[in-house]
Symmetry: C2
Subunit: 509 residues, 2 copies
Amino acid sequence: ANAAGRHPHATIGIEGHAVSVAALDAAAGRAAAGFRALGLAPGDRVCLVMPASTEALHAWFGLAKAGLVEVPLNPAGGSELLRYCIEQSGATVVVCDAGREAMVRELIRDVEAVRYLVVAGGGTPKAAARVDRLAFEDVLAHPEGPVHEVDPASAAVILYTSGTTGPPKGVLLSHRANINLARHTTRLLGYTANDRLYSVFPLYHSNARYCSVMAAIEAGADLVMHRRFSASRFWDICREHGITAFNYQGAMMSILHKQPPRPDDADHPVRLGFGAPCPPEIFADFERRFGVRLTEIYGSTEVSIVTDMPPGDRRIGTAGNESENYQVAIVDDQDQPVPSGTTGEIVVRPKKPGWMFDGYHRMPGATAESWRNLWFHTGDRGQLDDDGFLTFVDRVKDSIRRRGENISSWEIERVVGGHPDVAQVAAYGVPSTLSEEEVMVAVVPREGRILDPAVLIGHCGGALTSFAVPRFVRIVNALPMTPSQRVEKYRLRAEGVTEGTWDSQAGTQ
Amino acid sequence: ANAAGRHPHATIGIEGHAVSVAALDAAAGRAAAGFRALGLAPGDRVCLVMPASTEALHAWFGLAKAGLVEVPLNPAGGSELLRYCIEQSGATVVVCDAGREAMVRELIRDVEAVRYLVVAGGGTPKAAARVDRLAFEDVLAHPEGPVHEVDPASAAVILYTSGTTGPPKGVLLSHRANINLARHTTRLLGYTANDRLYSVFPLYHSNARYCSVMAAIEAGADLVMHRRFSASRFWDICREHGITAFNYQGAMMSILHKQPPRPDDADHPVRLGFGAPCPPEIFADFERRFGVRLTEIYGSTEVSIVTDMPPGDRRIGTAGNESENYQVAIVDDQDQPVPSGTTGEIVVRPKKPGWMFDGYHRMPGATAESWRNLWFHTGDRGQLDDDGFLTFVDRVKDSIRRRGENISSWEIERVVGGHPDVAQVAAYGVPSTLSEEEVMVAVVPREGRILDPAVLIGHCGGALTSFAVPRFVRIVNALPMTPSQRVEKYRLRAEGVTEGTWDSQAGTQ
Ligand SMILES: Nc1ncnc2c1ncn2[C@@H]1O[C@H](COP(=O)(O)O)[C@@H](O)[C@H]1O
């Protein structure tokens, strides 16, 4: 609201629909009153199942103004995952777009806590059902009510993340933590009202939310968002929109760098790129060829930006060194610090209040476990050099990272394991040629059955987020197990894509 | 075991019964085998309900060697409290002394998890009952079995503490944390095999356990323990036993200082006192008159020793400054650090692994709450001066501190509130003339009933730990409440002992 006052004319455009910050602020005021009129009290959760859109922005900022807790979910998420998150959040309201109404109705059929379904963008009201249906347009048409004082330390949002083994965990973030991340980004990149930012990241992830939308509002910059990354049109889009800075993840950079060189590769207003991890072997060449300067950081949904690149000493291949907000250390499995140059788990702790997450929603055990010895255990492995520069190595945690998305092994194993011919399954990541990982499963067929990988992949279709559908399927007689009967995924990872492994993209590349 | 090898002849004497470290080590080996023979697996809990005794030491070290988790409880604890702790610990075995068998049998009647009752020191086996009865002597007579490798990072003990509102919480401590505290104490005080320590503290509290018993074993010093503190005989006892160092809490020091001066006040081998908080106004005089040097620390069961007095710069009235093991800070209720000289909550975090507690047993919510923003919130208030010296001010947390014992308001309120004539009750501490606090309750009688304070106190007798029985009873029409209906105890505390307050010691002093 303060930022809206300073730069009311800055705009946020999503897929061609733009809204000014002033208009967003006004719409949010009405949405806040509309949500409150449903009888919701501060702290109540509201799930959003909708693609990036100006409606999604209205809902986000409306909920924030009302002191309600937003739970933005991946609208392309598998049904298993979506249902789990809606239920686990304890939300009483779900907001979706008209195209997803039928799917969402089916999902929430047995989720008792949900009392309202709010549908944006038309659709035909269906009778029946336990939940009340409202049009989001009616929520938004509510006369602006009294302004609620929202405690900056209170929960603003729950972002589901698939860090470690088991179901996804809901990362609780306060208003203050979100604002701090936005300001940190703005300062780090030096954004001003003359900037025009670009993002292709989803609105249910902290990157687009705080390092683009809120950072732009803070700086008074404009922001352009698209739902998809187009490698061939990327620089044309930047030229067309007068983009000065963009956010990236590793695979984007590899793909852009693989495009055939063009004489106008550096002929655009873009001067900054922000993200991680741009493969070190292309880093310098990328900067030179496209005439941009890249800034890398290390962080996560839980701890925002932990390390960043000091402008004077970037050390390519590292994610920079300790920011002013966090301590970072590398420890062994007894939490003992290891010497510099040695790989261990990356652990972090805040130097100031108001930066870190407040815990995993309704998972105090997982929260305390991740906070043991009063360090947050990131589940990532890395090294520090003698000057405190961090090199990311790989992940301890059981999640797969594909093109900036964290994918839960748990989710894949649930769905693949649900196929009647599957006895056992392990999902894991194998290195991608682009950056980060590709999804792979090792599957033990049920005795006497023959498994067709293509059929198995077809089975995943409806139930899994599209980007979680395995690319590689390996059929094995048995999974390697520890004495305590845990699957030794590190072995499977080390074996990688074997000769007999089936590749769903074999024909397409 | 290692320490036993270095100083096998050092002795620990409790109430006149001494055991050498070598004999303790051997007994512990047999007890370990005996406990394991009950079918217990590493991590299983065993409650001890027995006074300080050599049997209690055998049980303690036997459980440690077996990798079992010891849960030493206050044997004089109220039945409500004891039953709660046995049940909450999930113990399968309870060990008690013969004198407490009947009481303990009654307590565990409905605690399903308990399968064995082990009785030390004779008594007549009763038939019947769900639990198997064993003689501790038979457990101890077990031939020593194979040595179990115990992971130093695994849980050694659960110590119940009444930190904040609500029921007591079980502080989980690892073997490593206990050894670290013992070594820290030994180093801080400079104990050697020539020392002879003295303690009157109970074996269910970390002070006697790690700053006396294990510190003595580490140093190869002898240790003398008594169950009660005698002011009049204190220095005679020290002379008789050749004591060189003793542990104290505040009230002990006031009481000793109030004794009429004697010409032989400084004629004894004692050179060191270790504890907190000796009232600052008597500190220097105490040292001079009794010829001892006092060392004060700040710490708790959860975090052992946080600050200690550097020998060269003691700053009387403070608890010293940051030890090498912990960071300490003073924060406001938003976790924001306050300037030096300002009072706020004392928060601490370890600089190294293996010093702090591993959480509250089966209370992940309370654990995560106390660890928010990755600082341990002590529930105490204090100040730091410009050089980082800590002055303790008072407690935020809802417990009462009387003569070194933490008393749970929750426990007192449960028992007093259980009286049929009581509508509402609040328990709190009021300053004691000795040091620390006395227990006080404000009680609202049920409509139409007249409450006799003496009857109320009688009602507390059986159910409350003796030291938790209120000294002061104040009858009121209503308790001061916050808008959110929490009792404003700080108001009651500020009003203190009012004119109409009933004092159970009025006649006796
Ligand atoms: N600089 C980096 N290099 C490589 N991976 C990173 C880097 N920063 C973050 N990540 C990965 O992204 C995860 C955080 O994902 P998220 O919570 O979705 O933001 C981290 O836990 C890492 O696994």
